[in-house]
């Protein structure tokens, strides 16, 4: 099936099999490997991207479902070599070690801040519970999101 979509402001037209997961489409067809493939059944959060302004699991969507949509992946966050404030905060707070979970963490945290610009620490922890970090780096992640709260 022929689909067209916008990823990080770039237009793409591609032919895809219906069973192609959006995650694999981004990584293998578009070469956007910043989005990571983790558990591939919606548990780990590593594949989280933004579709029509909302964070979604790209492993639980088929590429054909994104036909006509606007997507943003981790590659779309930094602007001209300047990190997004949340990326900077993750760096400042040492919110990553191996970095595998980080793209998903960023996209999920941005979704939280979009809906709730001044979350409490408990709200941050609840919102980030869908992103597993195996380096036990949660403390830094939580601090980074808190650093980005609107004052």
């Amino acid at each position: 099936m022929r689909i067209q979509l916008d990823v990080n402001g770039q237009h793409h037209v591609r032919e895809v099999e219906p069973r192609r997961l959006l995650l694999d489409f981004l990584r293998d067809d578009l070469g956007l490997t910043g989005t990571h493939a983790g558990c591939e059944h919606g548990v780990c959060g590593a594949c989280t991207i933004e579709m029509e302004g909302m964070a979604v699991r790209s492993c639980l969507l088929f590429a054909v479902q994104a036909d006509g949509s606007r997507l943003r992946t981790v590659e779309g966050l930094a602007k001209g070599g300047t990190l997004d404030p949340l990326q900077q905060a993750i760096s400042d707070q040492h919110g990553l070690q191996c970095g595998f979970c980080t793209p998903g963490v960023l996209m999920a945290a941005l979704d939280l801040l979009r809906i709730n610009p001044s979350p409490t620490e408990a709200e941050v922890r609840a919102a980030m519970s869908g992103n597993l970090c195996r380096c036990t780096g949660y403390e830094g992640i939580v601090q980074a999101v808190l650093q980005c709260r609107a004052l």
Partner: protein, 282 residues
């Protein structure tokens, strides 16, 4: 972890979706949020030959109050329902339960009707539906029928929906003036419940006028704890009454043992969670 091949259909209206489902019969699955279905397909636990993607049927994306009921269309996402102030006022029990459904990112896609139609025994929304006596509207080629929640769930991942039928709307009664609580225990935040309880109480003149109690994760489907409800009705709230009701709720459930907990462990969770939920509400 890649799904098997299937044929993809993308209707633009509910009528078109239903006629496709009717035509394709048992080999077709409707795809709404896909947060359970696609995960099962990735693991090849599900291999539908046809997927009927209803995500473009915008007419089914609604949440509205009508005739004292909260009416939720097949495409209304859980996150939207959770954040909708009118839902918090009309049916706070649903709002509270939704906080336990997966994670925000899952709820951004997952739908209320999808959770009901999937009928996972540990899911939160079905427990709320049986507790509140929700009405579920199934539409097929022959027309619509309304199924009471207590008649809808038929055991593990099984519902009263016939092949070709789509759950187009869920109707939750608006319970203003009731006290409500949803509690659950899971290994990690967002996991399916090892045990969960949904409680709604209406207290009048110092006595329980009506009680509703739904349980998740402790039988092959959601359970309405009718004996506990009957024991509460007409009585003055007290710690002793709540302990007795919790004991009856334990008898109403029929848990199975799995890697997360034994039968007696799950019964103990019901005992404690029901008591705590009642104390929270009263």
């Amino acid at each position: 972890m890649k799904p098997a091949a299937f044929e993809y259909h993308r209707p633009e209206s509910a009528a078109e979706a239903i006629s496709l489902l009717d035509e394709l019969g048992e080999e077709a699955k409707p795809l709404a949020g896909g947060q359970s279905l696609v995960s099962l397909m990735n693991m090849r636990l599900g291999r539908p030959e046809h997927l009927v993607d209803i995500n473009r049927c915008a007419e089914m994306d609604y949440v509205r109050l009508e005739d004292g009921e909260l009416r939720i269309g097949a495409l209304a996402r859980q996150r939207r329902v959770e954040l909708e102030p009118a839902v918090g006022l009309a049916c706070p029990l649903l709002t509270k339960a939704l906080a336990f459904v997966g994670h925000p990112t899952i709820r951004n896609r997952g739908t209320i009707c999808g959770s009901l139609a999937h009928a996972d025994s540990a899911a939160e929304v079905p427990a709320v539906a049986v507790a509140l006596g929700a009405s579920l509207v199934a539409r097929g080629a022959e027309g619509e029928r309304v199924i009471e929640a207590s008649q809808f769930f038929r055991g593990l991942f099984t519902t009263a929906l016939a092949p070709g039928e789509l759950l187009v709307e869920a109707r939750f009664p608006s319970l203003q003036g009731w006290g409500t609580a949803f509690l659950e225990f899971a290994r990690r935040h967002g996991d399916f419940a090892i045990a969960g309880v949904a409680v709604a109480l209406r207290v009048e003149g110092g006595r329980v006028a009506e009680a509703r109690l739904g349980l998740a994760g402790v039988a092959s489907g959601p359970v309405r704890a009718v004996r506990a409800e009957a024991a509460l009705a007409g009585e003055a709230p007290s710690p002793q009454l709540f302990r007795e009701a919790a004991e009856l709720a334990v008898q109403d459930c029929d848990p199975v043992a799995d890697i997360h907990g034994s039968v007696s462990y799950r019964r103990q969770l019901v005992r404690v969670l029901v008591r705590r939920a009642l104390e929270q509400v009263a």
